[in-house]
């Protein structure tokens, strides 16, 4: 078991390294190939009408004229060993894992990500609960009452949920539920630790909006899986043995259906933890996703690298947890001792 975990961890680290390299390549190397000079890149981080001196100083400060290999080496070394930065007359230490300072706001990237993580985690956790519980429940019910009015209604709604983009449902709910009918407060994040009630009130719309999209997918997946399983021989055997229908459905049919659900859940949760860009932007939540999109718009390279790494980290982590969960969900895939 331990070797299995270690192997998975090793693979995860390798993936992180590859993701870092690719991201670095996209944002540092591609522009050069496209003919952007170091000064051209620096121009993105200085004021409107920069003097050549200011550009040169910025190129120098950010090391944009260094060979790519040197820049990448610096990035990795900084990440693993930390470094020091000079601001004005002050020297600031950035300890490992140091993701550097933002080119545009001059704030430490890691600290910024960590300060925004609670927002994204709040969003992800609440939405995940809603979409898994809601999606699976609807899926099971639909499968059991296949062909009923409920089934048709639920599946149509699921289709709507999958097709409607978040900014549409989000903006609709903002326009009507918040601004027209004043049913919910104007969204402005309140930490859970500060005021749990306000936290729920503010987060409920983003949760539902984000969950709607995912739940739809889970409902359809669960329904399909359940229908397949319910047609299996061993279910007929279970029924023939006189087991209660509830036991048949939840113990014998649902468990194998959950295996693929857990797989996509791991991926989905990892993705959302890496920043739910659309939901966060729509509801003006300052989470990691909002940080990422702002950085992309401003071509703020250290921030882009930072959030990409963070996103990849969460996906790797969630996948690892899912891999470890398989045997619990489905005893058939337990690893041989």
């Amino acid at each position: 078991m331990l070797t299995y975990i270690l192997r998975r961890l090793g693979a995860g680290l390798l993936l992180l390294a590859i993701v870092t390299m690719v991201t670095f390549w996209i944002f540092y190397v591609l522009p050069r190939w496209a003919g952007v000079t170091p000064e051209g890149m620096a121009a993105m981080y200085v004021g409107k009408a920069p003097t050549p001196e200011a550009l040169a100083a910025t190129v120098d400060r950010l090391g944009l004229d260094q060979p790519i290999a040197v820049q990448f080496y610096d990035f990795v070394r900084t990440l693993l060993l930390g470094t020091e930065y000079t601001f004005g007359r002050q020297t600031v230490e950035c300890a490992a894992p140091c993701l550097g300072y933002s080119f545009t706001t001059n704030t430490p990237v890691l600290e910024q990500i960590l300060s925004r993580l609670p927002v994204t985690m709040s969003l992800a956790a609440g939405a995940a609960v809603i979409w898994v519980v809601g999606g699976v429940a609807v899926g099971v019910l639909s499968a059991v009452k296949k062909g009923s009015v409920f089934d048709r209604l639920a599946m149509s709604l699921a289709l709507v949920g999958v097709s409607l983009p978040i900014y549409f449902t989000g903006l609709l709910s903002l326009a009507f539920l918040v601004h027209t009918w004043n049913l919910f407060p104007v969204p402005r994040y309140v930490p859970l630790t500060e005021d749990p009630v306000a936290w729920v009130q503010v987060m409920i719309l983003p949760w539902v909006t984000l969950a709607f999209l995912h739940a739809a997918q889970y409902a359809r997946q669960t329904r399909a899986g359940m229908l397949e399983t319910l047609g299996e021989d061993y279910i007929r055997t279970a029924r023939a043995k006189g087991l209660s229908e509830r036991r048949v459905i939840f113990k014998h049919a649902l468990r194998p259906t959950l295996t693929p659900i857990v797989t996509i859940f791991g991926l989905d949760l990892g993705l959302v933890l890496g920043g739910a860009i659309l939901t966060e932007t729509t509801f003006s939540l300052n989470g990691v996703g909002k940080y990422a999109i702002d950085a992309i718009v401003a071509k703020d390279l250290p921030v882009i690298l930072g959030v990409t790494l963070m996103g990849a980290f969460f996906i790797v982590l969630c996948n690892l947890i899912v891999d470890l969960l398989y045997p619990v969900v489905d005893p058939r895939v337990r690893i041989a001792k």
């Binding site: 120098d60 007359r89 001059n106 104007v186 003006s284």
Partner: protein, 584 residues
Amino acid sequence: MRKRTLGFVALGAAASIFLSACGGGNGSDGNGGGEGAGFNAAETAIVNPSDKTGGTLRYAIQSDFDSVDPGNTYYGFSWNFSRYFARTLLAYNPEPGENATDLVPDMAAGMPTPNEDFTEWTVEIQQGLKYEDGTEITAQDIKYGIIRGDFNGGTLVNGPSYFAQKLDADPDFNVYESSDPLGEFDAIETPDDHTLVFHLKESFSEFPNILIMPQTAPVPVDADTGELYQQHVVSSGPYKFDGDYEPGVQLNLVRNEEWDPETDPIRPALPDRIEVEIGVNQDEIDERLVNGELDVDLSGVGVGPAMHSRLASDQSERPNIDNLFSGATRYVNIHIPVIEDVNCRQAIMYAADRDSMHRAWGGELGGDIATNLIPPQIPGSNPESDLYPSEDNKGDLDSAREKLEECGEPDGFETVIAVREGRENDVQTAQALQEALSRVGIEAAVETYPAGDFYGQYAGSQDFVRENNIGLSVSGWIPDWPTGYGFAQAITDGRAIQETGNYNMAELDDPEINELWDRSMQTEDPEERADIYAKIDTLVMEQAAILPVVFDRAMFYRSPELTNVYFQPGYAMYDFMALGVDRG
């Protein structure tokens, strides 16, 4: 050119597509539209005058400050807002209407006094000014603020560089590499703790106009942490930071008890607390404004496109709207090196259909038809003058054809109109012009170029313009300070022409105009200067170097819960310092 937050335009437009479907009217919601002070009321009068203190004034913005460090910012709203915590030497007159852009002392004890040829300026500052920690503000602190803002070796990159251009100092001086910056820098002298003497390279009669810039805010030498200083600016004004500034998230201000209202002629400081929520969608901001869930859109560029079209058609909200000059002139450059003959350029002036270009800019609410260069709110502007008049502004085709004969191109010629990608209004202006010019045989192709490099690599690059036959380009200009010099010098003075990054895009280099610019800098009386600027404006029109399109307008929603609201044309937005709230 002061930066407007241009990123908004694109984002706002994208978001507006999403929301336009559900922007149904609910204007009567919240605070009862229809009871406002009247359309454009804040232009000439103070709306809801009040001295009621208390409450929280709520701002929000879609994008962010370029920096809240007063020494490192170039956004108009940021200049306006930073005065809450960073006092400057001078300020705009805190009143609406005609005299709004007159200068008055802020930290200064009186107006600056020049020497005979305007190369040396002396400013006295008040006694008893204090920072938030109670220590006294001295002339040395102000000197330090100025030199760190402009002489920092590229550390603080955002702000304007007027002091570096005008002061008689080594441009390579670096405040962060000097062990004794105050001692080594001698273009500003501080003979005592309350006097500043500025030594300039050349005559500059409008020097007081750059003393309103936030770079003149005091910064204690020991507190200066370069780029990091913006996290917590040491306050000299009525408010101080509550916690750190969090880029992309928020900035909160609370009262600074050390601030003495007796020393401050321009800030009533009514609210107890000021909050800025950063990163809110433009449509969400507009929605909250109209619903009374927010007081001011910090960006100061008016409501987004979705709300604009909604308010434009909703008569009940009219009394809560100010549709005022954004400070900019939108115009078309006629590149002299490409269209060399002045008669050919004048043919373009005659042939242009100003009416259709005006409609491209949104018609009446979008702005006023411009027939001269300097916008109406600036002294010396003469919006009545029109050297190329035509019926209903549709263009004078006969005169245009005559001019074409005179320049030896009776059948017209071919040229290119350069526009910035993604600027819908610019593109439509170019198309309107293209159509109008084709009436006299001038075939102009519209070419779009990336907005970010428009000046650096395309229409502002001399080589590119010549190689690609770019005879026309659509651009606009917002002054850093509201005088003829502040507005038009950079775009019409021959000595301002640059190889690349050129803002005098027409490459107008006229000895008479250049001479007038020099003379204006040696003229003390503002009215005399205004006459000179009017003359320059006419000369530019005669040379047909710039085809003015509109003086554009922005639509502001004035929340009925705001008190002391008036429009400050110097910033082209409400005077933030005056605002209070009364939730009634």
